[in-house]
């Protein structure tokens, strides 16, 4: 199918007679690559460790390491003697020949050795991706989660057989050729609990769907997964990657719900995956009052307002046309300095810190339980915020 690629990296052992100032150079051996480790724990670079047996002679040895068509960070290349470390086999220096992708190690040897050495270097264009596939049950209470490791080798080098190491989990053996991509299952967790969330952020979504001709305002829907032991996870940080979500349709099949990209999720943290939009929850938000109330004027002959407050009312009508209940997270923003005169849900007073949260100085979060639609029509809730912005200094318009 694919022609085996010839190894591009080469090691040539050059023997220099000990004690001679002018090296008497002789090609001795072209050692084969032995055990190879591909370490993929750094997102930017991949560390390759390979072992080779060098036939070293007593005295000074020169080992030429060269590469072509691969992107190796020359400063990252290291050599370590494994059989006779220390004084018996000593790396004296490293030199770089001009205009070549190569380096030469000078190794001093106390005796003749068939020495196993480990050469390590950072190699570009070989990496790994993580992808997720989750199948939710019909009631959307949990997902069966699978994670796939995708190895991509575009480094220019073939790896016949290598131990692949991630930053967690067991190492495994895998060969991968240049320009080859391999996808393998590496995490499977069944019945991972999920929380389904609907979020209306007043800063991101249109307020009045009626003003949009023939366009629905979708309320973003997300699944939340916690990376902890309770979820059957929590052993290690979950790397970021693309997640595709499906749902069991109860007919021995699935439907595709949507996809999202997650960042890295450390242990104990939450992964939130935006799957799609709900068009069965409709929010109509309107500004019903926005009045400026001057508080201070200057002493000009034509006094100007220098400081004013506002008197504002915002209402949000929330309609649930779904057959099921939903918990809507509503995010509201009030810029600057402000205080709430009255905040109600269906006419009942809401208390800050009890019924709704202040996420930061200018952001409020309401969690609104929406009952299912009934025979009379959609379930309707109405939020009202009557607030004042304080001490505004400019832009007074009479």
């Amino acid at each position: 199918m694919n022609g085996k690629k010839k190894t591009i990296m080469a090691i040539v052992l050059l023997l220099a007679a000990a004690g001679l100032v002018e090296a008497r150079i002789k090609l001795v051996a072209l050692p084969e690559r032995d055990a190879t480790v591909i370490r993929l724990d750094n997102p930017q670079w991949t560390l390759i460790e390979e072992e080779r047996v060098l036939t070293l002679q007593q005295g000074l040895n020169k080992v030429d390491f060269s590469w072509k068509g691969v992107s190796i960070d020359a400063d990252s290349i290291r050599l370590k003697a494994l059989d006779h470390p220390g004084a018996n086999v000593t790396l004296l220096n490293v030199s770089y020949p001009p205009n070549e992708a190569a380096l030469v190690w000078e190794i001093s040897c106390a005796d003749n050795y068939a020495e196993t050495v480990r050469i390590s270097y950072l190699l570009r264009n070989i990496d790994r991706l993580i992808t997720y596939k989750a199948i939710a049950d019909k009631p959307e209470t949990f997902v069966d989660l699978k994670s796939y490791l995708v190895l991509r080798n575009f480094s220019g080098e073939d790896f016949d057989k290598a131990r692949v190491l991630l930053d967690y989990g067991e190492a495994f053996e895998q060969g991968i050729d240049h320009e080859e991509t391999k996808q393998m299952l590496f995490l499977k967790a069944d019945k991972v609990p999920i929380t389904k969330m609907w979020t209306f952020d007043a800063a991101k979504l249109p307020w009045d769907p009626e003003k949009l001709e023939n366009k629905n305002v979708g309320i973003p829907v997300s699944y939340r997964i916690v990376n902890d032991a309770k979820s059957g996870l929590g052993e290690f940080a979950m790397w970021g990657g693309k997640a595709r979500l499906f749902q069991d349709d109860g007919q021995e099949s699935t439907i595709f719900l949507g996809e999202d990209v997650s960042g890295m999720v450390p242990v104990g943290e939450k992964m939130e995956l935006y799957i799609g939009d709900s068009r069965d929850i409709v929010v109509t938000q309107r500004q019903m009052k926005d009045i400026q109330v001057p508080t201070h004027k200057n002493n000009d002959k034509a006094p100007k307002v220098v400081l004013y407050d506002t008197d504002e009312i915002i209402t949000a009508k929330i309609e649930n046309f779904k057959d099921g209940e939903a918990l809507l997270t509503m995010i509201q923003h009030i810029p600057g300095e402000w205080d709430m005169e009255e905040c109600t849900l269906d006419g009942k007073n809401l208390k800050l810190g009890v019924d709704y949260k202040k996420k930061n100085a200018n952001t409020l979060e309401f969690e609104i339980k929406l009952p299912a639609r009934n025979d009379d029509g959609p379930a309707v809730k109405e939020l009202m915020m009557h607030f004042h912005r304080r001490h505004l200094r400019s832009g007074y318009k009479g």
Binding site: M1, N2, G3, K5, R124, N125, T131, K133, V150, R152, Q174, D177, E180, T181, K182, Q183, M184, L185, D208, E213, N214, N216, P220, V221, K242, R244, Q247, S253, T254, I255, F256, L257, E259, D260, V261, I275, G276, D277, S278, R279, D280, V282, R286, Q287, M288, K289, D290, I291, Q292, V293, P294, K301, A302, P303, F321, K322, R373, G377, P378, G398
Partner: protein
């Protein structure tokens, strides 16, 4: 018959260090299920095949040249003896395109049913409606159709066809993933392959899909036997499963009747809002997606509706207009914009303008005043049918006060600078009402 997707099973002897090909089979596709989306160019394909495997290492080659399959979505699962079948990995070999190779370790020999799923682009569905108003325009016969189009490059024979209404969140377009040179791209380098793009662009004449409708009671190919459709809400979507199977070769479309409701009560609603529609009155046909209107079983996804009106006893029709509408949840109102009309007229006239309550600062410059505008609104229905008219008035400021005169009921405050008047007019009738709008300016806004 064109067949772009092929599967080869290559069985390798377990003990051989070097792969030795023992047997090559080409398993036929058993069943196939298509789940087609309308908010994105996306179809989930699920097919079953019976593979012949031998104990030991097996390689399964799956190729999809000239299709629009997203290779990163490929998945194979054994449907029997799952504990004896280990799908070790899926490799995308170098220097070969549109080919995947599953390495399968089998503990058994013989036939193993497997299910292969993947996402493809190129299959689509959209819906459209035809409405026929009765002569009195009190009810409308509403017929919904769906049109399924296959431009995927693959023939899907006898496929169970399912349609999804809903807006899925996508990171990548499936068509773009399908045309990548390498399934997961390559590290650090964005690969562009123009020649392939052109090839696929030529194939990819998939119409851009808006929302398309399905309501329905019955699906049937026109002129063919009736087909039941199973409707079900799943997550935020609606799934419609068409009874039996459909065969749609690539390049072909198929039109199916999704529902036919005889008498949907409708209201002729006319709207006037200068800020939105200028000086024209715009006609809307309004009804509700509920059981009272013979609907309400499922949401109605948006689509284009052509409206006709019965003309005469012999079943002749006149074309009234067309309107596209958005997705309508169950119990939600539907308003079909049929465009500007001349037979219902709304004429607002400014009858009087006064200013008052001037305020002056210490330099005797004007610092505040009121403006009082008196409007007369004349509404004429020249049709032989009763109509409902909704008039919205937008004001240039939030500092205003309104006093109404005339027979029209109270106005509603829509938001801080908009009010709405609603009128019902008998056939060939006229109504008039007026209001005095006071707007406050400068320091006169203070304390309001």
């Amino acid at each position: 018959m064109k067949r772009a997707i092929t599967i080869l099973t290559v069985v390798l002897t377990a003990s051989a260090a070097n792969a030795k090909v023992d047997l090559v089979t080409l398993p036929t596709r058993g069943t196939v299920q298509l789940t087609i989306y309308n908010s994105a160019d996306l179809t989930l394909v699920r097919e079953s095949r019976a593979l012949t495997v031998k104990e030991g290492r097996n390689k399964l080659q799956f190729s999809w040249a000239n299709t629009l399959i997203d290779p990163t979505s490929l998945e194979m699962l054994p449907k029997a003896d799952a504990d004896k079948i280990d799908i070790a990995d899926l490799a995308y070999p170098p220097r070969v395109r549109n080919l995947g190779l599953w390495n399968v370790q089998s503990g058994i020999s013989g036939k193993v049913p497997v299910e292969i799923t993947y996402l493809t682009s190129g299959l689509s569905w959209r819906a459209f409606y035809m409405g026929t108003l009765t002569e009195d325009e009190k009810t409308m016969r509403l017929k919904g159709y769906v049109r399924v189009t296959n431009n995927s490059g693959e023939d899907y024979e006898n496929a169970q066809t399912r349609l999804i209404v809903g807006k899925v969140h996508m990171i990548d377009q499936i068509a773009q993933l399908a045309r990548r040179q390498y399934p997961y791209d390559r590290p650090g380098v964005e690969v562009q392959d123009d020649s392939r793009d052109k090839l696929l662009d030529a194939k990819k004449k998939v119409p851009l899909l808006g929302d398309a409708p399905i309501v329905g009671h019955l699906f049937h190919g026109e002129g063919l036997g009736r087909k039941e459709v199973k409707k079900e809400g799943l997550s935020e979507y609606f799934l419609y499963t068409i009874e039996g199977t459909e065969t749609i070769p690539t390049g072909w479309s198929k039109r199916l009747l999704s529902f036919d409701v005889d008498e949907v009560p409708v209201v002729n609603l006319y709207k006037f809002e200068q800020q939105r529609y200028g000086n024209s009155v715009v006609r809307f046909l309004s009804f509700k997606n509920d059981t009272e209107h013979e609907l309400g079983e499922t949401p109605i996804p948006g689509g284009l509706l052509k409206v006709y009106r019965g003309a005469g006893d012999k079943g002749h029709l006149s074309y009234t207009g067309q309107s596209s509408f958005k997705y309508i949840p169950v119990d939600e109102d539907v308003e079909l914009n049929l465009g500007a009309v001349a037979d219902v007229v709304v004429e607002p006239k400014l009858m009087d303008l006064k200013t008052a309550n001037y305020r002056f600062d210490r330099r005797r410059n004007i610092s505040g005043w009121d403006e009082i505008r008196t409007f007369k609104i004349e509404v004429r229905n020249t049709r032989e049918l009763p109509v409902k008219v909704e008039i919205k008035r937008n004001f240039p400021t939030q500092y205003w006060d309104l006093k109404q005169t005339g027979r029209v009921g109270n106005f509603e405050k829509e938001d801080l600078d908009t009010v709405k008047f609603t009128l019902e007019l008998e056939p060939r009738s006229k109504q008039e009402f007026g209001y005095a709008l006071t707007t406050y300016h400068g320091v006169r806004t203070e304390g309001r």
